[in-house]
Symmetry: C2
Subunit: 511 residues, 2 copies
Amino acid sequence: MNWLRPLAAGGCRVTFGGQHLTPSWARRAFAAHPQNQVAEGVVKLQQPKAQLGTDEGKKNFILKPPKGTRDYSPKQMAIRERVFNTIISCFKRHGAEVIDTPVFELKETLMGKYGEDSKLIYDLKDQGGELLSLRYDLTVPFARYLAMNKITNIKRYHIAKVYRRDNPAMTRGRYREFYQCDFDIAGHFDPMIPDAECLKIVHEILSVLQLGDFLIKVNDRRILNGVFAVCGIPDSLFHSTCSTVDKLNKATWEDVKNEMVGEKGLSPEAADRIGEYVRLHGGLGLIEQLDQDPKLSQNKLAREGLGDMKLLFEYLTLFGIADKISFDLSLARGLDYYTGVIYEAVVLQPLNAHREEPVSMGSVAGGGRYDKLVGMFDPKGRKVPCVGVSIGIERLFSIMEQEVEASKEKIRTTETQVLVATPQKNFLDVKLKLISELWDSGIKAEMLYKKNPKLLNQLQYCEDTGIPLTAIIGEQELKDGVVKLRVVASREEVNIPREKLAEEIRRRLES
Amino acid sequence: MNWLRPLAAGGCRVTFGGQHLTPSWARRAFAAHPQNQVAEGVVKLQQPKAQLGTDEGKKNFILKPPKGTRDYSPKQMAIRERVFNTIISCFKRHGAEVIDTPVFELKETLMGKYGEDSKLIYDLKDQGGELLSLRYDLTVPFARYLAMNKITNIKRYHIAKVYRRDNPAMTRGRYREFYQCDFDIAGHFDPMIPDAECLKIVHEILSVLQLGDFLIKVNDRRILNGVFAVCGIPDSLFHSTCSTVDKLNKATWEDVKNEMVGEKGLSPEAADRIGEYVRLHGGLGLIEQLDQDPKLSQNKLAREGLGDMKLLFEYLTLFGIADKISFDLSLARGLDYYTGVIYEAVVLQPLNAHREEPVSMGSVAGGGRYDKLVGMFDPKGRKVPCVGVSIGIERLFSIMEQEVEASKEKIRTTETQVLVATPQKNFLDVKLKLISELWDSGIKAEMLYKKNPKLLNQLQYCEDTGIPLTAIIGEQELKDGVVKLRVVASREEVNIPREKLAEEIRRRLES
């Protein structure tokens, strides 16, 4: 057995880069805990109908969580906490504060921010009082918070669930309730310095998690705007054309062109002109090439965007991460509020010995610059430039859960250090007193909730749940003022003076 | 300045009891961070009307979070995370696993569980598909989870927000969106052992937080049932009479009696008979007295309840916490699902040098035994006995926030260890390369997002935000392959070889 010891949350130091790489999640693999009766893996949505036995009348109903949502079992939570710890450590390493906002907002707060995606917002029932909606992302609530508190300068993270009435695809990590882990920098600063840091953060997190090779696609809304302008697309069609272009990573160019012409009302010629640009991707060379493009170089916004893109690549080179970045003109991002650089990270080949079929992975992180969103909330329209990134946790979980499914090893779901046990009958009061002393000394301790459990059952419980030590107290030990400390793995037993027990447990588990 | 260093989350060891008491939050006091422009304290709900500058038409609307909800600023989050860490450490010390469930449930899942309080449930709008409601507590989702996964044995905690369309009283910590921290033990065990552990947990958490003296009131639904029966109250009025009795801690006996007679339809004589019982409170002596009560001792349920109550006090005495426990017959708890022992903790005199007026504190924790709730969900009605406790975080926050308001000291909202700075112009590329090296070595580092900030501004930023070290690199240092490490507090400066910088920073901050 290879029990994994839980990480200290939040404050733990993660060293990576070069030869100091944190051991990979992809290499650590876990198997289902035999004693853990929680259903693991993909939640079974189709449960048999259950009879509700309330006093208020029996009804047929389905016993399940709502469509597109899931419960997390203790083993899944252990995985989730590790991913969160990796991400939070990274955000804290970059000096971020943390905030929280309510799960719902005034409906008006969310209106006019998401373009076509607004139809996916969950509304609350009008039960009198304010009209409310569940948050769709953490960005709009952040902008509302900044405007409300007149904050013009902050670097914060926010990890919370968001809600979208989308078509769920749960095996691929697409849910209606899912976590976003957002890091944003707000304030008037010199160009591209905070933007480059956001990309560095994505690079750090995906490197530490080691889910396989990854690529961060980068583009700029101003460059797209210039492209659309030189292709003859009116400004009024900018946002909806962005939404269509953004589908290029999932659909063929033919399908995207058909939507542009058939649904968005572009001419086939304009669509073809766009097609010639948005299929380009590369690095500094492509930036230079577009800078020389006779049409595009005439467009003011495109020139600004290309200038900043060059600067961004310069900074990313200093950070040593430019090789993972692709300037990709097909990247458009669906949401309306972006105004400058945009980016999206994709995992290329999930690296995993246990996985037989490659997992279809979408984007695992995305974000960009939104300089006008706070101004939409400010009474005087004052702008606070912002740039940020959102890490999409559920897809990362999906990969890791499959590793757990496939692996042969165990995962601990508690941190219990010692089980208080006895071979004696009618020793409940002695056990209760001893465990109470251990708790009060800060030791993580359990006992079986039976008056007279068999010693074998008590020892078996340690084996099953990975508790490393057993503190055994019988009549002789009680008389001698000692406790027999048993190491579960080696079966070694040693008598410890009772008043030194907590210290001894701590000493043994620290080494 | 007395910068508080953030605790390591989750895994941190808390020692308490005897002379090893963790330093008190009540004694540690914090002042508003001057640089932190986030509005602290009570959220101002009445903001001036703001003009929404969207492309889709301007509207008047109020810039605020929904009624009864609040944002958490970085300083408030720092307080919140410490309370959570205390609670999570305690739950883990008692061997609990952790689960999570969705924020909403099928409306049917919540129906028939909360009695009169059902009217406070938030429903989602019917936008097609399932009818959903926001969770009202974490207990019913837990029972649904157990039944759905056929789990008959688990000890778990769950910390999450719940939702109640109640009348908010935000300065007293009553919100419409608020956290519950739940610890529950499910399974068939010998009587009162898990129940006693739940009370031990409440005692540990309130002791570590040191918010002042506290009392844990205990009662049993079976004893109440017996009391009502011998007073001539029909079974059909049990739940609604419980709801009324439960108001005794806020209302006078006269008011409670009036509600019993006027609204609930009890006779004045029956109400008076109840009044003689429910105003009793005490310890073991009261249990013995009721055991001898000629009427009550004839009632089977009451006898069972009194027997278990005696056992509970025995175990609590072994835990050394019986002096904080009061057997109180007025405690009834509003919710329908309790079947046995029930309890509620109240803070008696908030201990705080900075607070001038005593804060009106309600219950800060509550819970009890609910042996039939899982059976309500199980297709075959199989019961899984459960007992649990819920810690009400918001009231604890309220007290701590007032301390922060009143105090003169500072609270750090980031964990940044070092600021990368330069006295040189046009040294942005050098700073970017250095900070990147530090991040990759796991050091928490920041820099100002300006091309050419003044050195004084860089040093001032450290003073303002509590960053303990500055890593200064100029032309000379660059040439010599060193970095000048400055201790902000002492202004001591020392040159460190660049490749040893991360190690040196770590060494200095660990001591």
